[in-house]
Structures are given as C-alpha cells and as structure tokens.
Homo-oligomer: 361 residues x 2
C-alpha cells in the first residue's frame, strides 16, 4: 500500500538517499520495504513511542523477516555509552548478522544512538530513520550525524553515518507534547536565519498556524527545513566548512545542556536561547540590526521557547564548558554568526571580552 | 632525523596512506612528525609496551604538542567496550579536540581498539599505527579494520577506519615473546597459502631463519606480507568480495578464541589451527593435494604453532559458535578455502555433514 508523499534526496553520490515526507506514510509498507535490503531488522525505539507506533510498524514488515525490537527508556539522559552497550547485547543475543537493518523509530535521541549503533554493529549495517518528533524530522534524522553523549560533553562519541532512507510521517506530530513540539520549531527558525530570509519571513507570518499545528503549515515547514538541511549536507558532509552554519546557537546551547544535565532543558530549548545569544553577538558586531534580536526573541517567545540562558550561568561557566566543544580547534573557539539575515559565517575571532560582555550583561 | 626504510602505499584514492618499514624507525622523528597534522596527540599503549617504547616515542614528538598517554592493561581480554569507554574518559578529561591524532603503540589489540577509538572520538580523528608485534605488523595494522570484542563474538563492534600512516619498526620484534612471535608467523604463512605460492615456498625454505628472527628474513616476510595485504585491501576495502580471502582459518579460529575465552589462545595460534582445518577441508574437496595438509602442519609445528583445535571442542560447539560469525549471511556460513596453492575462494556451500566429518574425525 502506498500513500501520498513528497520525496527529496540527499545528494551524496553513491550514498544518495531519499527523504519521504507525508501524513500517515508509516502505513505505507511499500516505502518501508523498499528501504530494507536484507532479511533481518532491528527496530530501536523508546518506551514513549513504542505503545504508539511500534506495533503498527512491525505489522508493515514482511512476516519472513527476523524482527527484533529494542525499547530504550525515553530521554536525553539515556543517550549514553552504557545504553549503546545494551543495544548491542540485545541485537547480538538475537543473532543479527551484518545483513541486518537498524530502524530508528523515535526522536533525536533514538535516531542518534541507533545511527551510531548501526555504524558500529559488525563494522556497519544498513540504517533507516523514522523520526517521530519535529526536531528529528527537520534536523537530526537528516545528514548522518550520529553520537552518544559523555559526562564531559554532548555528542563526543559518534560517527558520520548516513541512513539508507528517512521516512517522515508528519501525522506522528499530533501525539507530541507541547514542549517537545516547540523545541522542534527552534530548529525550523534556525534554517530561516542562516539560509533563507524568505523562509524566515514565512515563519514569522505563520507562527500562529505553526503553534496550532495546522497540517499545511507544518508540512511546508518540515519540507523546506529538510530541503535546506539536505542542500547543506550534500555540499559538506563532514563539516569541513559550510555545514558548520547548521550549528547556529549550538555552542551556547550545548554549554547550557551540559551545565543543566542532559534531559533538563530540551535540546531545542537550549538552541533557542543559544540562537538569541548568537544573533545578539552578531548585532554587537553590527552585521545585523539590533531589531533582529528583538524580532527573534518575540518569535521564539510566541513559539513557546526560552530566549535566555538559565539564571546563574555566568560567563566563566559558559567559557569553561564551551572550551570542550567539538567546534574548538587548537584552543580557538568558533561561533556561527549571522553575516546578514538568511546568511551565516563561522567566526574564530570572537574575543573572550566580547563573550563576557554578551553573557554577563 | 631519518633512518633507512622502505615505504609501501595502500592505494585508497584520497585516503591513500604510507606503510614505512625499517629497523629502528621509531627513532626517526621525521616520519612521525609527517604523520601528525594537528597540535595534540593521544598515545594509546599497554603496560607491557609502555616501559619499552613509550618514553622514546614521546621524546620524538615536538614539545609544543599536547601529548596524553593512555596505558591499557595488556591482553585480548581487555579489548572490550568497557576499556574503550575508559579511553574516552581520559582523552576527554585531557580536553583533546577533533584536531587530535590517536597513535596506537602496541600489538593488534592496541591497534584495533585505538583505531576504533579514533573512528568514534568526536566523530573521527586522525590515527597512526605503530605496531610492535609481528601479528600487528603483517596484518592488523594495515587495512583499517578496527573493533572491540563482545562476550557473544569477536570484533562484533567496530568500524572500517583507515590510519593516516603505519610505522613498522622491525627492531621492536626483538623484545617479543616466543609465543607472540610465532602467532604472527601464522598470518605470514596465510599470505603464502592464499595469494603467492612462491612466497609459500620461500617461507618453507626459510623457516629456521624466521624462527631465529634473522633480520633479513624477518624484514622480507614483513614487507611481502604488507604488500599482499595492501593489494587486497586496495581492491576491496569493505570486504564485499576479495578481501574475505584474508580470513583463511579465521572462522574456525574465532570459534576457538570465543570458546576458550579471549586471551587464552593467542589470535595467531587459533588462526594456525583454523588454517589447518581450512586446508584439510580444501583437500577433502580435492582442490588441493592431501600432501599440502601434511606440509602446512609440519611448517606450523616447526614455527611453534598448534595445528589442531583444543581438545573437547566438538563439531556442535564449533557450529554453534560459527553461526554468529560476521561472515554468516542470511544463515549461510561462509568459509575461505584454497582453490589451489596460492589462491583462495569463499565457499558458501559447505554442508554441515562436511564440517562434522572434518571436526569430529
């Protein structure tokens, strides 16, 4: 059975892969079957998503497949080395070989850890992303960044490992909590700021429709976000240049997440606060107007997102945590800043004094 | 300072890398410096190798580098998920970023775990192999297979991740124990059997010189083995075809290692016994003469290696353990067999009855 959908492609040569986007495409067994090459599948999900979608997904699979489900506890605090080890324990106990396909059914945490598990299991097996949160649909399921966290830093252990396909069912967003949905919108806002002033204007004009989860608005936001992400990733898969602009707000955001302990602030919430800091730093450097800071703050507030770091995080705390960020090269911190609305650059000349002025104001 | 050496290349396009082979090349700071691109290095070694070579290696490094040493306990039983986690703990605590270079100083265990650590650390950093055992010099340091073991199978978690360079100092073999040295010779014998009948004849004729570790004989054996390995890996990096012939004796060997517990039999010892089984199976299928079985048994015995599986391992035990091998595809076990002396094929049509006849004889 097939249902209406749109298909984009991430153009990576012989590792090119499709992103299928549509409402109710989880009920399309043909899209799923196309993506599975062997006779074994491992579905990794969490205890929030499993009751909602796992049974339906398994029913779409051929009964001739060996299917093993791994159900993780829900939450960023479980995106760890230890959890990854338990995935391998279960998959090996079920005797999956290297022709198996890992399917990530869930949000960003499930996608990141499952992708990394697929990258490492028997030195790499097939992998399909079925993101069920807005954050995962517009960001983490596309582009092949996989990882787990470490107490000393977020996403410190991982791999670049592209999926064979991404299946985005926007109907799954109806079951998403308000806070998680808003966290996904933070990444949608990011794409407008760094890459597409027209999209930014569209988001500002349609903020009410987005908050109300109007299907037309949500579909367009997901599709345009995936298009931008796919274009950036195709141009720079391993983040040697352009791809770094996708990290707008993330250096600050990761510091917030690390400081608060994973799972306290959602990733998208930390990124929202981090983006305001990045836009403000851009305004301090006079590449964008001060009114953009106010505009972005108002937009994020309307979308239900924080616009400032947690109380009590001093500039010294930020500087200390950011020094361990992956984007630090030879001791020099790098920040994504806006060169104008809809365009971003990576700056490695941000001085400590500027950061202290920004954070301690 | 540079010392005389030979350089081969593993031809992998833009990931082409050199293998430098020579006596005392660990004293050549230029070869080492060439291989390091950033300003940070992590040297991973073990508590047997560290007292012998770590200090000398660190002295070759520029004092401007941030150098962190990670010293693991010696032995295959430590090639685990848990050990890998402790490497990340130490490297993150020392604040290495993604411009760092991991250096593996040691045998196959150190090389495999360090390579996998480099593949995963911040999604992949530079990596240099300095193998100090014969096994690592002729086999595991070349070709980019990295992994850790799992209680349910050897090398089950890992990555294909090529080093930037391999530095082989044959002088380090003088400190190698007799048993470990012999285990390395098992892989040398393998290259003759699967790829080069002339090399096999040379090994047979020079067995006494090899056992006596005569520098000329050892150098030639290392160089010819690396040439063959490099040629096979360049033709098939990810083992979709030809590369599988490098696993002669390994399906049986891995079963022996798993059965005995890692660290009881050395890898090369298990491979030696496994190779005799593979050659005998080939002879049962009449692709090679029965006299080759006797010849290989005598050669391995003269080199100080076992030629039969441990007592008490029944065909049922073997079949059960081999069913989990990575080389099993959709339930079908695959075995590397000789199609003639100096040529190998992968057979997926070996029947259970044949295996029982081979093992229980």
């Amino acid at each position: 059975m097939s249902v209406p959908h749109t298909t984009l492609f991430v153009e990576l040569g012989d590792r090119r892969y499709p992103i299928h986007i549509g409402s109710d495409i989880l009920r399309s067994s043909s899209l799923l079957t196309e993506a599975i090459r062997g006779r074994q599948v491992v579905v990794v999900t969490n205890d929030t998503i499993a009751p909602l979608y796992l049974e339906g997904l398994l029913q779409q699979l051929s009964s001739e497949l060996l299917a093993t489900s791994v159900i993780l506890p829900d939450g960023e605090q479980y995106k760890t080395w230890q959890t990854l080890g338990t995935i391998f324990d279960q998959v090996l106990a079920a005797r999956h070989n290297r022709s198996t396909t890992f399917i990530a059914l869930g949000g960003g945490v499930v996608g990141d850890i499952t992708g990394f598990a697929a990258a490492c299991y028997q030195r790499g097996v097939d992998f399909v992303q079925i993101p069920t949160t807005l954050l995962a649909q517009v960001d983490s399921s596309v582009g092949g960044k996989t990882a787990v966290n470490h107490p000393l830093g977020k996403n410190m252990i991982g791999a670049f490992y592209q999926p064979n396909a991404v299946l985005i069912d926007t109907a799954t967003l109806s079951t998403l909590g308000a806070r998680e949905y808003a966290a996904g919108l933070a990444e949608v806002v990011k794409y407008g700021l760094i890459f597409d002033a027209d999209f930014h204007a569209w988001i500002c004009a349609n903020r009410a429709a987005l908050v109300a989860r109007e299907p037309g608005a949500v579909s367009y936001a997901v599709k345009r976000s995936c298009e931008i992400k796919a274009q950036v990733v195709a141009a720079d898969e391993r983040e040697s240049g352009l791809r770094a602009i996708l990290n707008l707000g993330h250096t600050f955001g990761h510091a917030i997440e690390t400081h608060m302990g994973y799972g306290s602030w959602l990733h998208g919430e930390a990124v929202a606060a981090g983006m305001v800091m990045a836009v403000r730093l851009s305004a301090m450097r006079q590449t964008v107007d001060n009114t953009l800071v106010t505009e972005v703050e108002a937009l994020l507030t309307d979308l239900g997102l924080p616009t400032w770091a947690p109380k009590g995080m001093s500039s010294s705390t930020f500087l200390d945590l950011m020094a361990l960020d992956k984007k630090v090269i030879d001791g020099q911190m790098r920040f994504v800043l806006l060169s104008s609305l809809g365009a971003a650059v990576v700056a490695d000349n941000v001085r400590e004094a500027e950061l202290r002025a920004l954070i301690d104001r």
